[in-house]
């Protein structure tokens, strides 16, 4: 946070013609102008109008100010309340397994061998694909009639299941697909962190007679702690945004069992054209994401000061 006193760079302080800006500053503003034009119009402005629209009954034809009526309605909207619960369940039960499987995968493919580098490519690939393709593949696997899972169960003499059509199983199925798709991402991030540990540390521990598991607990886990905060926040936010999978695999059903906040936003806005009401939902989503971000920044800052106190 160092701030130079004005005029500390006399060489750069050539006066522009009358505008009162240096030549450098003018160049900088011209360079950032194209991006900021798009950014202002298509990111910041919509964020602002989201709040104002949430106070109206906008439906693309009319628009009247109705105060906080939309927010009051949210509290008694059963589908919306269900969607908030579902989204929290989806996020909580996705993030844990994702962090675990990603970490174990990172340990398994850590190394310079051929198998390890091929393993990395294979495991990251599901993350690279579109959620649409992934949903389509799993839609087939889960299909009660001709899907592979039920055929597999039948070949062991076990009864099949209705999977996505089962009110109790549908949400866990979506969570499974999410974990399958994104574990490779967690693996990549963890891998980068644990490869930044100097090999001499492992060497020294080995000389001292520390076994593999003991080295994982005392060297590797502390090494990935900082990125774990990052992952926790990123993954939670990703989960709170989940829409494509829900829209394609279940469309929120059966009977709201898998509807999420973003799915409700989509349905109210683009099936019912209740844009004002959907905007109020968006504001709620925004506040949740904002909270996660702030908590994460705080926790990250806490971590940093811990490290300073430890004197490292």
């Amino acid at each position: 946070m160092k701030r130079r006193p004005a005029g500390s760079q006399p060489a750069l302080r050539r006066r522009g013609k009358g505008i009162g800006l240096t030549a450098d500053a003018r160049a900088a503003y011209l360079l950032i102008l194209p991006f900021f034009t798009f950014f202002l119009i298509f990111v910041l402005y919509p964020l602002l109008t989201n709040f104002t629209t949430s106070l109206t009954n906008e439906n693309l034809a009319t628009r009247t100010f109705i105060g906080l009526a939309n927010y009051r309605r949210l509290l008694t909207d059963r589908s919306f309340v269900r969607s908030v619960v579902n989204t929290f369940v989806y996020a909580i039960f996705s993030v844990g397994p994702l962090m675990l499987f990603g970490f174990v995968a990172a340990l398994l493919v850590d190394g310079s061998g051929r198998v390890q580098s091929a393993g990395r490519a294979v495991m990251i690939f599901p993350h690279v694909l579109s959620m649409v393709s992934v949903s389509m593949i799993w839609l087939y696997l889960f299909d009660p009639g001709s899907g592979l899972l039920n055929k597999l169960l039948a070949s062991f003499g076990l009864p099949g299941s209705d999977w996505l059509f089962d009110e109790k199983l549908a949400l866990p199925c979506l969570i499974l697909v999410n974990v399958w798709k994104s574990s490779g991402y967690v693996m990549m991030i963890d891998l980068a962190a644990l490869q930044s540990v100097p090999p001499s540390l492992h060497e020294a521990a080995r000389v001292d007679g520390a076994g593999y598991l003991s080295r994982v607990f005392h060297i590797t886990l502390p090494a990935i702690r900082p990125v774990s905060y990052f992952l926790l926040a990123t993954l939670s936010i990703e989960c709170f945004k989940t829409f494509e999978q829900v829209r394609i695999m279940t469309n929120g059903g059966p009977v709201d069992a898998t509807t999420t906040i973003t799915h409700q936003i989509y349905m109210r806005a683009f099936a019912d054209f209740k844009m004002g009401y959907a905007s109020a939902m968006s504001v709620v989503l925004f506040l949740i994401v904002l909270t996660i971000t702030i908590v994460n920044l705080r926790a990250g800052g806490q971590l940093e000061s811990d490290r300073h106190e430890a004197g490292t």
């Binding site: 990111v43 393993g119 925004f286």
Partner: protein, 288 residues
């Protein structure tokens, strides 16, 4: 004991790899089966007989050459424009001191944290009421604005601020002497950017290009609300895939064939630029 640990590690790796790859094998297998085999109970992963013509039938479902061209055009344009404006902006933030720089950069960081889903509805209203487009008047009334146009599809993709952050982090590592030397040679900031920085930007722009292209190619939500259903004009691949599901009976073989074609493009990009891709993923996770 050591031997045992090694073997159990290898076994675990094998389980992970199988879990990752098995669904793809199923996709490939089903895409070559005929519907009779798919409806037959009992596990049979080998297509008997293999039906390569499923691909031809699947791709003549609707207008697939058009969908592929649309996706290439939209993802390509979004990537090209993003690369230029993000590099320019990132360079300015990394190398030039100017008033309000800190505040504007905080805005960019904040922009990275705004989920697209939050602005979906207001963005749609904005695009629909865009002044003087699609039959709209100056106040944005009367027509459909930029809905159902390539422009409406592409614009939000190039407004994301992640690429600016990425470029800024890259350019900030260049030595100070570079700017001083350029200055002594009478090189303006624009020339320095164009002649010195841009030619050295291959690593960051490669990573950003892969991220932007796959992101735009894979996008589903925005095309879904932007596209007038029924008209194929701007329908992208991801949207076209969902058409197989919207009919009464799902022809799994055709759906898997089309899915495989749409993922093949990403597979090629991924395999040819794997390093760049992984670098892009890591930006932001490691604090400098």
């Amino acid at each position: 004991m050591k031997q045992l640990a090694k073997i159990s590690g290898s076994l675990l790796l094998l389980v992970f790899l199988l879990a990752a790859i098995f669904p793809f094998l199923v996709m490939l297998s089903v895409s070559l089966q005929d519907m009779n085999q798919i409806y037959t109970p009992g596990l049979s992963l080998i297509p008997r007989p293999p039906r390569p013509e499923v691909y031809r039938i699947a791709l003549s479902h609707g207008n697939w050459p058009r969908y592929l061209a649309n996706s290439f055009y939209v993802a390509g344009m979004a990537t090209a424009i993003s690369l230029i404006i993000n590099a320019m902006t990132g360079y300015a933030f990394a190398r030039i001191r100017f008033p309000l720089r800190r505040l504007l950069f905080v805005l960019i960081l904040a922009g990275m944290m705004i989920p697209a889903q939050v602005t979906l509805v207001p963005l749609f209203i904005l695009i629909r009421h865009f002044p003087l487009a699609g039959g709209n008047n100056l106040l944005g009334q009367g027509g459909t604005g930029l809905v159902d146009t390539y422009t409406g599809l592409i614009l939000p993709y190039i407004a994301g601020s992640f690429g600016v952050f990425m470029c800024r982090q890259f350019y900030v590592l260049f030595p100070k002497e570079l700017d001083e030397a350029a200055k002594i040679d009478g090189c303006s900031r624009f020339r320095a950017f164009w002649l010195i920085y841009l030619p050295l930007s291959k690593p960051v722009l490669g990573a950003l290009a892969v991220l932007k292209f796959t992101g735009a190619w894979n996008e589903y939500t925005w095309p879904l609300v932007m596209t007038n259903t029924g008209a194929d004009r701007i329908t992208t691949v991801q949207l076209a895939l969902t058409a197989f599901r919207n009919e009464g009976e799902i022809f799994w073989n055709q759906l898997m064939a089309a899915t495989l074609v749409s993922t093949a493009v990403i597979l090629v990009v991924f395999l040819s630029m794997q390093r760049a891709f992984v670098q892009g993923l890591l930006v932001g996770s490691v604090k400098e």
